[in-house]
């Protein structure tokens, strides 16, 4: 049976791992390759590396880093951050990335999804969406959750799917950094509205939250950062817990 995936997410700045708390106040939590290798041994199903570097030099460091990650990891990994055209995606594919994720750049230029999927296949493309629930609706934000847009979560996710997204990575800004659990209601709605897999992000604090996001939120995968980086919930312990609660995990 297809297993539910546990995905540690590593934010990278200038080639090092950082984790944004509520998208701000970044703290250094270790070497990305070393962390990734540790997660692979621990049973993480996949990794996501997000480049939050703004500078040209930092982006070059990131491409070099992707190559080192690919050389060491024997599990899949997605890279994202700053991918604005097919060429950017191609550089990362050549460096050894299994998938790329696009976020703000796809909101500004939705045709980017068609172009990347057309060139490399839908399986290569994750569309990440940051959204905040406000006044009863889910508003899509760009620039790391700093700028609201006219787009609404569910219609944008459907459009991304139609254009060629292989997966949707949904981060609830209301839940991110709170450690109070995932946005299970919105996730369930999103999952039933889409035919592609949904990765849940934002809010993981306890093992029970992962059970809820799979059982109640119908997520195909769950992503988290700080609870893994600080070893608050070791991946093997989490998987054993999920197994005991009848969730299929590897």
């Amino acid at each position: 049976m297809l297993a539910k995936r546990i995905i540690p997410c590593l934010d990278i700045r200038d080639g090092k791992t950082v984790k944004g708390i509520r998208f701000e106040n970044v703290v250094d939590v270790g070497d990305p390759v070393e962390l990734g290798a540790r997660y692979a041994v621990d049973g993480a199903d996949e990794l996501v590396y997000l480049d939050i570097t703004a500078t040209h030099e930092g982006r070059k460091l990131f491409a070099d880093l992707v190559e080192r990650i690919a050389a060491h990891l024997n599990i899949p990994f997605t890279v994202g951050g700053g991918i604005r055209d097919v060429g950017d995606a191609g550089v990362l594919l050549s460096a050894g990335a299994d998938k790329v994720s696009v976020n703000s750049s796809a909101v500004r230029d939705p045709g980017l999804i068609d172009r990347i999927a057309g060139e490399f296949g839908t399986q290569f493309l994750v569309v990440a969406i940051d959204a905040r629930n406000e006044k009863g609706g889910w508003t899509v934000y760009v620039n790391g959750g700093r700028i609201p847009t006219e787009k609404e979560l569910f219609s944008w996710a459907r459009e991304a799917q139609e254009r060629g997204a292989g997966e949707i990575l949904f981060t609830s800004m209301n839940h991110d950094g709170t450690k109070n659990g995932f946005a299970c209601d919105a996730l369930r709605e999103l999952s039933s509205a889409l035919t592609i897999p949904v990765i849940a992000s934002g809010g993981a604090g306890e093992m029970q939250h992962f059970l809820e996001v799979f059982r109640d939120g119908h997520a195909d995968a769950a992503l988290a950062a700080s609870i893994f980086h600080y070893n608050e919930i070791p991946v093997p312990v989490l998987k054993e817990y999920l197994r005991k609660n009848n969730i299929t995990v590897r």
Partner: protein
Amino acid sequence: MNVAIIKYNAGNIRSVDFALRRLGVTARITDDFDVIRKADKVIFPGVGEAATTMKYLKEKAMDTLIASLEQPVLGICLGMQLMCRWSEENDTPCIGIFDEPVTRFPPGLKVPHMGWNNLHRVRGQLFEGDLQGAYVYFVHSYYVPVCEYTLAETQYMVPFSAAIRKGNFYATQFHPEKSGDPGQRILSNFLNV
């Protein structure tokens, strides 16, 4: 050992190369026909879209090259699908080593079938070493049905071929290069056939 990885317009070529290096093998990533013909083992990797990729392979006459190879060849993911007769993905005639169609998963569960799933009814040298039930990594929307060539099955709405073999041609729908320890074992088994 002399291993060639076929270089073409798409594909997760680096990942396969890195996985072989972890097994102590340095492969040649090449589109040079002579180098490919003379290799002890050939790997035909793939991530991408069937029609675009077949068009490229045909333009370079790589489709006939692949079909004519006599040493062990391993197709991976899209590579496996292109080695079949036809793909429903944009109605694409393929290389035709395996006389089987490649069809899209029916509506029901999420497509692509993405993530870790088990191998069942494994047989043959490719799966030596306690790989019954092992989890391997899949990313695909189209599949090869269970057929006379099937070496391993996986269940996702329907049972499908996780791996096939015909003579010197081997192929896996999953990505052994991304499938942790079981994947490394399967690649190593291929290098030893």
